[in-house]
């Protein structure tokens, strides 16, 4: 499903954010990526979404070479991927409902269906009672949950989550990863970047360990 072939990435000349990273994620896999701060986890996820382009190397997602996709065709790729980023990327001038609904609007889902699905997604992350507020009126953990709801609302084939539980209490964190696990069971490929050892210990089957841009361990517990 996701193949990275000898990926190198350099933002600024002396340092390499990623060096020679190669791995395959098969359909239905559930991967954790971990590693110290600044080791290149976010860079990796952004590349899968083609937000940044590798300095060298090829990325194949769902059979397509991501690097070669035209600017105005990327939306096709991104519609198959649900993602939560560390900075949440919420639309602060839109209400909570609309922030989730936008994913369905862009693909033209009918209004009734939107209401149903958005409500479900918000209920799962326990935010349905704040549906008509603005993201700026949410606590930070609530904003993170909103980002999660948006990522899962369209049953994506691939789910990328970058530190999705960094602002949540352990109980909620467990619930969220359980949710991801369920989505995974329904066939989605999931990649989660996290620092939370408890979560990895509990849920981790396949773990990638990044250190200073290098993939130093691939584990299957």
């Amino acid at each position: 499903m996701i193949e990275l072939h000898h990926i190198w990435k350099q933002y600024q000349p002396p340092r390499w954010a990623l060096s020679d990273v190669t791995f395959h994620v098969k359909r239905g896999d559930f991967y954790f990526i971990t590693g110290p701060s600044g080791s290149g986890k976010t860079t990796l996820l952004k590349m899968i979404l083609r937000e940044i382009i590798p300095t060298q190397g090829q990325i194949i997602v769902d059979g397509k070479n991501v690097v070669r996709i035209h600017d105005h065709k990327i939306y096709k790729l991104r519609r198959t991927i649900g993602s939560v980023f560390q900075d949440f990327r919420l639309l602060f001038h839109k209400k909570v409902f609309e922030n989730v609904a936008i994913v369905l609007r862009v693909i033209g889902v009918s209004r009734k269906e939107i209401r149903r699905r958005v409500f479900n997604a918000l209920r799962i992350v326990n935010l349905h009672h704040k549906m008509w507020e603005y993201p700026s009126q949410l606590s930070y953990g609530e904003q993170q949950r909103l980002a999660i709801a948006r990522a899962v609302v369209n049953n994506p084939k691939i789910l990328l989550a970058d530190e999705p539980t960094g602002n949540l209490d352990p109980e909620l964190a467990f619930e969220i990863i359980t949710l991801f696990k369920e989505i995974n069971k329904q066939g989605a490929t999931v990649i989660i970047c996290t620092h939370d050892r408890d979560l990895i210990r509990h849920f981790g089957e396949k773990i990638l360990f990044l250190y200073k841009g290098k993939l130093i361990r691939k584990e299957a517990l």
Partner: protein, 299 residues
């Protein structure tokens, strides 16, 4: 499907206009004032055009007749004038009328006239030429023909005056194309800049929309509609302002301007100009949004 999308875009646009109301308020202010400048210029140029028209209407040829010309010869000249398509109107002026007119037109020379013992003016025909023929060559040949006619002693074809008129109209045109051009261009640049600033301020939003899988069209439409609406609103408000200005400007001056009253009796914009102004607003808003969106539709 399409109707649902259209409805969504419209709602979205209106919602955004409201969400960014402070920013939009200032943007519309800027747009409106730019259009005001543009509109005031349009109105002034309307006025100039009208005045120039009025002036060229009074463009005249005077056919001086020989002294003591018999009645039948005079009517021959009259027939000839009546028959020509170049002549719009004509009028017989007796020596007495000529003297009176002269006294009215040149009160400064009153003294000289009074010193005269005999009336020096001959009788004449004063003819106005249709506007489109004022500087045509046909007019010259017609005048040549008339000059050779019996009974016509001399023809006053005021070349000097025509030249002055032509200069004036050239000046008006120059001012129109150049100064006006500057004002208009300036207005347009201002409006388009403000629209661009609006889009820049919301680049994050564009990035996030692309992130959730929106097509470029989906992202563009509300921005384009917003730009267009801002342009149109700015135009409409400025039309309102211009209307009030034109209404109250003469009041402010009072009626004491005498001869120059006509010059400042501003005419409101014509319907086609109003439509043009609004269309321009829409166009600038649209194209300004479009061009500034481009750079954000890459990531």
């Amino acid at each position: 499907m399409i109707i649902q999308k259209l409805k969504y875009f419209l709602k979205e646009t209106l919602r955004n206009l409201w969400q960014y109301r402070i920013r939009n308020f200032f943007s519309i202010t800027i747009i409106c004032l730019s259009f005001l400048i543009f509109g005031v210029f349009l109105s002034l140029s309307n006025n100039l055009h009208y005045t120039a028209q009025q002036l060229s209407k009074s463009m005249m040829i005077i056919f001086f007749l020989e002294k003591n010309l018999p009645e039948d010869q005079r009517s021959l000249v009259e027939e000839k004038l009546k028959g020509s398509s170049l002549i719009e109107t004509f009028q017989f002026i007796s020596p007495e009328q000529a003297l009176e007119e002269f006294q009215n037109n040149f009160p400064e020379l009153r003294r000289i006239i009074e010193n005269l013992r005999v009336n020096p003016f001959p009788s004449s025909f004063e003819a106005t030429i249709t506007e489109e023929n004022i500087s045509s060559s046909e007019t010259l040949t017609f005048i040549q023909e008339m000059k050779e006619m019996k009974g016509v002693e001399d023809i006053q074809f005021n070349r000097d005056w025509v030249e002055k008129m032509q200069s004036l109209s050239r000046l008006a045109q120059a001012v129109g194309f150049f100064l006006g051009g500057i004002l208009v261009l300036a207005s347009f640049f201002i409006i388009s800049s403000v629209i661009k600033l609006n889009v820049f301020a919301r680049k994050e939003e564009i990035v996030i929309l692309r992130f959730v899988g929106a097509t470029n069209t989906f992202i563009r439409i509300p921005f384009l509609m917003e730009g267009t609406i801002l342009g149109i609103l700015g135009g409409l408000v400025s039309l309102l302002l211009i209307f009030f200005l034109i209404k109250f400007f003469p009041l402010y001056l009072g009626a004491s301007l005498g001869v120059f009253n006509e010059l400042i009796n501003f005419r409101y914009l014509s319907l086609s100009q109003i439509i043009m102004l609004i269309a321009i607003g829409a166009f600038i808003g649209f194209s300004g949004s479009l061009s500034s969106l481009a750079r954000f539709l890459k990531v």
